[in-house]
């Protein structure tokens, strides 16, 4: 019998391999979902910004502390970063609760959450490759106008923040899925949560270009440290001290979300009857 500390990592790796095979089976769907996801809105944002800066006089005009060239690099960063953030449809727990299928996991000699961690690992490994390809393709197309890290350290720091933030999203989506123990249907909450994560993180407008009041609020939330802050680190607009602050903020959010996840899961299971709808 393998010891428990060894069994869990092996199970995560096995689960990641299984999830990877499942994904690759859907070729067209795979391309559409994994490659095109997260590219449309940033590109549209670029056209909108282009028109806005043109109306302000074009050239080197600065709006809210950003030139158009910087916005261009920000959008490039957005294309890469959004690939790495865990998808709000990446967990089907709510459907399994709704249909009474959670029961099968309860009789298995493992934690259900461990399987989902395997999925998170699979998603991250695959998306790191895709994000790398997107970055390389963009660099090949537009050269130095594309987002080029100011230093390898800044790139690594940004990656750490994005992955910690992505895990925050993963926990958040688990908690929302687990609300299906009470609410039955939660897809609208998942969509809503993505609107909030995207907007407060800087998916529509960089947080540092927003009014002061909003900036102060959003800097305390994990989406800012997942989207805007990593891109600004890579651009050299933020420094190592900011990275350290980001790690602390994200660690606190991870802790809070993990506690919430355990609480919601335990309370939910206590009222789960396995009958489904």
């Amino acid at each position: 019998m393998t010891a428990l500390p060894l069994r869990v990592p092996r199970l995560i790796l096995r689960s990641a391999g299984y999830e990877m095979r499942k994904r690759i089976q859907f070729r067209t769907g795979f391309f559409v979902r994994e490659v095109l996801f997260g590219t449309v809105e940033p590109l549209i944002m670029l056209f909108v910004y282009g028109a806005l800066y043109a109306s302000a006089g074009g050239g080197d005009v600065v709006l809210g502390g950003w030139t158009f060239d910087e916005i261009l690099r920000y959008v490039a960063g957005l294309l890469v970063v959004r690939k790495l953030i865990f998808h709000n449809r990446g967990i089907e727990l709510s459907t399994e609760i709704f249909e009474g299928r959670v029961t099968k996991y309860l009789v298995m000699p493992l934690r259900y959450f461990t399987l989902l961690q395997g999925r998170f690992l699979q998603y991250t490994l695959l998306q790191v490759v895709i994000a790398g390809l997107v970055w390389a393709a963009g660099y090949g197309l537009v050269g130095d106008r594309w987002l080029v890290p100011v230093s390898p350290t800044a790139a690594c720091q940004a990656l750490v923040l994005v992955l910690m933030g992505s895990y925050c999203c993963f926990l958040l989506y688990f908690v929302i899925n687990a609300l299906a123990f009470w609410l039955d249907v939660v897809w609208s909450l998942l969509v809503m949560s993505w609107f909030l994560v995207n907007f407060t993180g800087g998916g529509a407008v960089p947080v540092s270009q927003m009014p002061e009041g909003l900036q102060r609020i959003f800097c305390a939330l994990f989406p800012y440290w997942t989207i805007t802050a990593p891109i600004e680190l890579v651009m050299g607009r933020l420094e190592t001290a900011d990275f350290q602050r980001g790690v602390v903020v994200l660690a606190l959010w991870l802790l809070a979300l993990e506690c919430l996840r355990r609480l919601v899961w335990q309370r939910g299971l206590a009222r789960y009857v396995g009958a489904g709808m």
Binding site: V32, I44, A51, S55, L63, L183, D184, F199, A204, V205
Partner: protein, 280 residues
């Protein structure tokens, strides 16, 4: 005399369609009364969508230093609010009446389209309109209120007489185009089964249409007006009401939409004939 039976038949078809729609509305209310929280959540979800759009453009227009007035390819802040109003109304119309579109790919794959193909009526009508959404209707009220506010905020005294006259025309164009665009997106799935291409086309084109078309390169603008006319959902109605287009475009564009609807109907019908119901 020969027109009378045809006219009676036409009236009979409309009455039948209205009866089917009434049935779908009743089922929609019954279904949603079982999920009260879900009702509230879906209303909140769309409110989040509206607020994030409004805030984004408020922030962008507020970026001008020292009160400088920025525009988006000629659209000032007040006009942009009207534009967003039509975009919200178009979205809410789709959510209210055409929510089944999100399941078209899966239903094709699982052979669930078959019951609609054997019913005595147009398959597309029976299929796409089956999921009436009361929460979508609530959002339609919210979206319409925003549109009314935006029109009122355009100038002192609110909309002019001409704008009042053109408003129902504009809304009819939005509803008409939304139906045929939905069919167009999903027609793709009839050929490339289980590809999610219908879904992605809908997301891509709707997203593009939610911003003024003038911000895009000219070729893309033309595509969005004449090939996949999402311009009919917000660009055309707001331009019509705000007097941003000339008479030829105002009067001629609906004809483009009718031609588009005709082509989409033909393509959809051909796709249905090719569909073999392979059950995944």
């Amino acid at each position: 005399m020969s027109g009378a039976p045809a006219e009676r038949r036409g009236r009979g078809r409309i009455a039948w369609g209205a009866a089917v729609l009434r049935g779908y509305v009743r089922i929609g209310f019954v279904r949603k009364s079982q999920f009260r929280w879900e009702f509230l959540n879906q209303v909140l979800m769309d409110v989040c969508f509206y607020v994030s759009f409004v805030l984004t453009f408020d922030i962008l227009y507020g970026l001008g230093a020292d009160g400088a007035r920025l525009t988006l390819a000629g659209w000032d802040h007040a006009s942009m609010r009207v534009y967003l109003g039509f975009a919200f109304v178009a979205d809410a119309l789709a959510m209210t009446f055409l929510g089944q579109q999100w399941h078209f790919g899966a239903d094709l794959k699982n052979g669930h389209l078959d019951p609609f193909r054997v019913k005595p009526g147009p398959t597309a009508f029976l299929y796409f309109f089956q999921r009436f959404s009361p929460e979508g209707l609530t959002n339609l009220v919210i979206a319409s209120s925003w549109l009314a506010y935006a029109l009122w905020a355009m100038g002192p005294g609110g909309p002019s007489g001409a704008q009042w006259f053109l408003l129902p025309v504009a809304l009819t164009v939005v509803a008409f185009s939304q139906v045929f665009l939905t069919m167009a997106y999903n027609a793709v799935e009839l050929w490339v089964l289980n590809s999610d291409l219908g879904h992605i086309a809908s997301m891509l084109l709707s997203n593009l249409g939610e911003r003024p078309l003038e911000v895009y390169p000219r070729t893309l603008t033309r595509v969005l007006l004449f090939v996949a006319p999402v311009g009919a959902l917000a660009w055309y109605p707001s331009s019509l009401l705000l007097g941003r287009i000339d008479l030829a475009m105002a009067a001629g564009y609906p004809l483009v939409l009718v031609a588009f609807a005709w082509a989409v109907s033909r393509i959809f019908r051909r796709g249905l004939r090719n569909y073999e119901s392979a059950m995944g």
